[in-house]
């Protein structure tokens, strides 16, 4: 303990090896300060003090306003529902597909290519495709629903207050599960096959194998894929922007869209900064265990 503290108190000239290390990471650190550190500082400052107006006084006004802003709480709740459901569904579908691909059947390479395909398409474009598929009169989804005889009406998937968010979530499952699947598949492939053979000899059922071999050995990969997916889903923007733009009303207005609107529709720069800062803090808190888990191993 003492030794450790001393290292901080006594300045020791860095060794040659340390200097070389600094030299290699320096461009990256400088770049990150420029493209991340600088704008983040501005955003945080701006949420407390209007930087682009006459009266430059410190104020908590924006955060007080935020606490009372129903639309902010709405956006937060929509975001949590959107992120929670998409991440969970990505995991379920991704795990199922990964297990099937890991069965080493003939042609699994071909199936893997197809399974990853939706993820390569920009979310803006998948949003547009699904938007037309959801079209009440000329879309393929309503046509299938109608011809199956469930209903004769033209359902407004994206304009109905109750259906809009589930519809957006459903289309995001298509777009996003392959990413989780790739990571889980890599994890599955690392599990020694002998374990399954031994279990089979002991007369384990397929479910028991899954429950007692696959899941425990896949735990780390599941945590990592869920953490990464949560990060990406929290930032999702283009998909919702093009499918509903947050509507009808505000029922699909996720936080990123809400901040964007505050910035560039209503030009409330200080307020938008405050909402974005809160959003960043939430993301940092959620991902803290993940970052700690990784850093401990470096």
């Amino acid at each position: 303990m003492n030794k450790r503290r001393a290292r901080f108190l006594v300045f020791k000239a860095p060794s040659r090896q340390e200097l070389e290390g600094y030299a290699f990471v320096l461009p990256c650190v400088l770049m990150l300060l420029l493209v991340l550190g600088f704008p983040v500082t501005i955003a945080v400052l701006n949420s407390f003090t209007p930087l682009w107006s006459e009266a430059k006084t410190f104020t908590l006004e924006n955060y007080v306003k935020l606490a009372r802003d129903d639309l902010f709480w709405n956006a937060l709740s929509i975001t949590l529902r959107f992120v929670g459901s998409t991440v969970l569904l990505h995991l379920i579908v991704g795990l199922a597909v990964a297990v099937a691909l890991n069965a080493q059947i003939k042609g699994h390479r071909f199936f893997r290519v197809i399974a990853i395909l939706p993820w390569t398409v920009p979310d803006v474009i998948s949003g547009l495709i699904w938007r037309f598929m959801y079209n009440p009169t000329s879309g393929i989804i309503n046509d299938l629903v109608r011809s199956s005889g469930v209903t004769r009406s033209y359902i407004e998937w994206l304009a109905h207050p109750r259906l809009a968010l589930p519809s957006v979530i459903f289309s995001d499952v298509w777009r996003g599960y392959p990413f989780v699947m790739i990571i889980l598949l890599a994890g599955l492939q690392a599990i020694p096959r002998e374990l399954y053979e031994a279990a089979r000899v002991d007369g384990a059922t397929a479910f028991q194998e899954f429950r007692h071999i696959t899941i425990p050995l896949l735990k780390r990969m599941i945590i990592i894929s869920v953490a990464l997916d949560t990060i990406w889903q929290f930032r999702r923007f283009g998909l919702v922007y093009n499918m509903t733009f947050g509507g009808p009303g505000h029922v699909t207005e996720i936080l990123s869209l809400y901040v964007y609107k505050q910035y560039f529709r209503y030009f409330n720069f200080e307020y938008a900064s405050a909402v974005a800062v809160v959003m960043a803090v939430i993301m940092l808190i959620i991902s803290f265990p993940y970052v700690r888990m990784i850093v401990r191993r470096v």
């Binding site: 290390g21 501005i42 547009l128 000329s138 393929i140 093009n242 901040v259 974005a276």
Partner: protein
């Protein structure tokens, strides 16, 4: 025993066939719609197969709009971002992988945590600041902005790759009289070429698919990208779906081709870099 395994394979096949159907259906719908006439696309009930397939929508989009320009912009910006973040990221990845120095763990933690910062936190300041430096609505401005998203994970992915290369290689190069930079560029870079490719594809895909930044940091058509062009088409009063789907198909083509050609790199890169043990 054998029969049980056989049944498992049959179930896997059936399930994967369903997955293929689910994954490909939206692509088929996009391509079929793009081959329809405007009138047919609005038919009630919709047709599935194009009744009179026509490339009209593609001609319209490619010849009568600024779409080729958007395509060029997307390419330049995405390539620039991929190259810049992979170059700087590989240097830093090498530094983090090969050297122990004070503040190393802290820096890695900060780089990882910086991935959590949402884009909307940054776009406001970028919007205000880039104009001051004459970088608003320019390629360098957009490439810098995208680097803020791609650099942290590029660094992390490449560090993961370099960790898998034995340090004896560096030592051998140093003994042969290479400088550290020489060991990095002549010995390590060629070995981790697959990782570089994977990182570049990943950065390219991210930049190509982005909408938020181009929405905020460009104006007019000069710097607009494919995603922005398509998003503008969809906010028009009357959406011409065949054209929009034609544009989407063309816009999805580069990522899909990149992936199909280099899929092994990408899959390995994602799993080796993002998920290293």
């Amino acid at each position: 025993m054998k029969g049980k395994r056989r049944r498992g394979a049959v179930i896997a096949y059936l399930f994967l066939a369903l997955v293929c159907l689910y994954n490909l259906a939206p692509f088929v719908w996009m391509v079929f719609t793009s081959l329809k006439t405007d009138k047919e696309a609005y038919a009630i009930p919709p047709t599935f197969w194009p009744q009179e397939p026509t490339s009209e929508a593609y001609t319209q989009v490619l010849l009568w709009t600024n779409f080729p320009r958007y395509f060029l912009n997307s390419t330049v910006i995405s390539l620039g971002t991929a190259l810049l973040s992979t170059l700087i990221g590989s240097l830093a990845g090498y530094g983090f992988s090969r050297f122990i120095f004070r503040g190393r763990a802290t820096l890695i933690g900060i780089i990882l945590a910086s991935q959590m910062l949402p884009g909307v936190l940054l776009v406001g300041p970028y919007f205000k600041v880039l104009a001051k430096f004459g970088l608003y609505n320019t390629y360098p401005g957009l490439i810098l902005a995208f680097t803020s998203i791609t650099l942290p994970f590029s660094t992390w992915m490449l560090k993961g790759y370099i960790d898998t290369v034995p340090e004896e290689l560096d030592q051998a190069a140093l003994i042969d009289g290479c400088t550290r930079l020489g060991a990095y560029s002549r010995v390590i870079l060629p070995v981790i070429a697959p990782g570089m490719v994977a990182t570049m594809i990943f950065a390219f895909l991210l930049a190509w698919g982005d909408l938020l930044w181009v929405l905020v940091l460009t104006s007019g058509d000069k710097m607009a990208t494919v995603t922005l062009g398509l998003s503008r088409l969809v906010t028009q009063f009357r959406i011409i779906w065949p054209q929009l789907m034609a544009g989407s198909a063309v816009g999805a083509l580069p990522p899909v081709i990149l992936y199909l050609v280099l899929q092994n790199y990408l899959v390995e890169g994602l799993t080796a870099g993002a998920v290293k043990e």
